[in-house]
Structures are given as C-alpha cells and as structure tokens.
Symmetry: C2
Subunit: 190 residues, 2 copies
Amino acid sequence: MPATSDLKTAPRFDRTAAAILDAAAHVFSEHGNAANLADVAAAAGVSRATLYRYYPNREALLKALGAHALTELASRLDDAGLERATVEEAVERLARAIVAVGDRYAVLASEQCTPDEVEAERLVGGPMRAVFERGIASGLIRQDLTAQVLLELFAGALMAAIKLTQRHQLGAEEASAAAAAVFLNGARPR
Amino acid sequence: MPATSDLKTAPRFDRTAAAILDAAAHVFSEHGNAANLADVAAAAGVSRATLYRYYPNREALLKALGAHALTELASRLDDAGLERATVEEAVERLARAIVAVGDRYAVLASEQCTPDEVEAERLVGGPMRAVFERGIASGLIRQDLTAQVLLELFAGALMAAIKLTQRHQLGAEEASAAAAAVFLNGARPR
DNA sequence: GCTTACTGAGACATACATGTATCATGCCGG
DNA sequence: CCGGCATGATACATGTATGTCTCAGTAAGC
C-alpha cells in the first residue's frame, strides 16, 4: 500500500475535510439543525458522495464540527491566560473568545449536539466557572447568585452578541465588549 | 345549517383547539422544531386526523401557536403598565412577563417562526424599546449602547433565564429576577 | 330512538433526507 | 505516458414526516 493511498494523512484529505467542515459551519449556522447535507456538500464545492466518504453520516459530521469548535475555543481560552488576569479582564477575554468562535459554530450551542459533554465541561465550562468563582470569592462578583446561574446569564448575553454579529449589526469586537460591559456593570451608567 | 354545525364557534372546538395548542407548546418546547405532529396529537389526547382537522398543516399550527403566545404576552405587557412605572420596575416587569410566557413558547423565539413580524414588533418590541429609550433619555441607562443592542442583550439574558426554568434549576420568579438584576446592575455587588 | 356530526383508526400517496452502491471521468504521481 | 485513485454523477433503497381520505363508532341533541 503506497503512502499516497493513505487517504487520512494525505494533504488533500485535510483540505477537503476542512472545506466540508467550513461549509457545514456556514450552512448550519444559517439554516440551523434543519439544514440538509446536500446543501453542505454544495457549499463545500464537493458532491454529496464525497461528503459521505469523509463523514460517513450526519452524526459524524456534527461530531467533527463540534470537536473542531471545541478545540478552537479551548485553544483560545488557553491562550487567554484567564487565571493570570483580573476577573474583569478575564470576563472580557472570555467574551471575545466565545463570540469569535461562536460566530461560526452557534448551532452547536443552540442545539444540544455537544460532541463530548465531559470534554466540553472540562475545557470550557471549567475555566469559565473558575473565573466566576474567583470573582465571587474575592467579593468582586455578587454573591446572591450562584456561579452556575451567572454563567448561564453570561452565556445568554454572549449568544445575543453572536446573533448581533451574524446579522452584521455589530462587529465581533463591539459585540463582545458590549456583552461583557453590560454583564459586568449592568445597563446603568458607570 | 343548525348552529351546532358551526364548528368554529362551538365550545367544544375551543376546548380541543386549546388542548392541541397547549400540547404543541409543550412538545415543541421539549423537542424543538424537530418535533413531529404525531407526538403533538398524542400529547393533546387526540388522533392525528383530528389535529389536521383543526390545523390543516404544520405551518398553520405554528402560526396559531405564535399568535397565541403573542396575544398572551401582549396582554401581560398591557397589564404591566410599563409606561407608568420607573425604568427599573419596568425592566423587572418585562422580565417576569417574558419569562412567564417564554417558559411555554421558547421555540418561537429560538426559531424564526414569528407569526407576524410586524405585529410582534408593534406589540412587544415597541413597548420594550420604549422602556429602554426612556431610560437612556433620563440618564438612568448607559448611553454608549443603542437601545436595540441593549434590548438584544436583555433578550439573551431572558432566554437564558427561561432555559434555567425549563431545566427546573430556578423558579420563574427567581430566574426573571436574576436576569433583571444582572442586566440592570451587572454581576458586581451593588 | 334517530339523526347529525365529531372522532379515532388506519390505509394511502407523497415528499424529502439519509445512506449505499456503481461506474465513468479526470487528475496526479511516478 | 500510464496506472491508480479520488471524484462526480446517478440510481437506488430506506425511513420518516406530512397531508389526504375513508369508514365505522359514538356521543349529543331533537
């Protein structure tokens, strides 16, 4: 078996697989989970048959998409150095990272098609919760609400920010800044 | 044609129609837009054929559901007397009303199946925007963000609050209070 | 009791997305 | 230049949801 037949390591494989994933992110974020794979294949510029050669079924595609999004988000969060920043700064970095990624992968959040619940919790939920818990412990964040509830409300604001960027009503930078600012300080003037 | 044949005004019609709408709200909020009408019919305690007699197709059912939700929400907002309350109080009443209704009709918000975009804007968007604009004009709400952006962020927090109630992690009252409190004052302690 | 009309059960046609299989084509490396 | 291999086009089988239709049962009203 020559090396060129090793599809999964050939550079062309990566290119096509990435194109399909990219198209999937685009199409799914537009039509939601109701999008059909024919549209994804068309958007990727490949035939439907080829799509199935790379991802044997819908679930595999969604899983790969989720894994890709999770990897990218985890990488950004890792780079963000959350634990070395102040809580305020960490919240702003969280907002930037999540809006930047979510802009393309919003489907995964709105649906419950998390690739790996445990992995997502470890890579994303953990660091986020850590920031909130640090803020609560230091008295910088209100103590009348649990970290979990605060996290959910923050996530909701971030989802709204992502929607604003998808509708081109705000840039990613402005949207994430707005969400972080309102979440931290509220709607009242400082 | 005797009066009893006038299906659309018979009391039984209303009862069955309401039961179907109620079941639809329940099933759709659980399975999202992917729910099938057979499940809705079963949940309503009627046969699939009967469901189609009342709502000739899926779109009609969704439209009726949206209209019902919109009517209920508009009624609550009307009762809330938003324009006579302070901005803070108005925001809290908005949160209560929307969480109470959205608890059952969250599908409509997450999907884009608004029954009548214009009507929804007039009955809900208008009053909400009015509250934010009043707050901005009176200096009670920050001026660095437009009323539209604030509205979206608030809506995002409310969606998160609705999810919390649906997962029974918080009661409707607590969830709406939390969303309103964080939105008004932010995550920092007062 | 009888008529009327609503209902449930089920068959049925249809549309569509999914997933599989086949075959000819065309490109790329050797 | 040639052989292999990925691709595209296409047909196919399948499952599922939608919407329609018919018919018998049944409950309510006269």
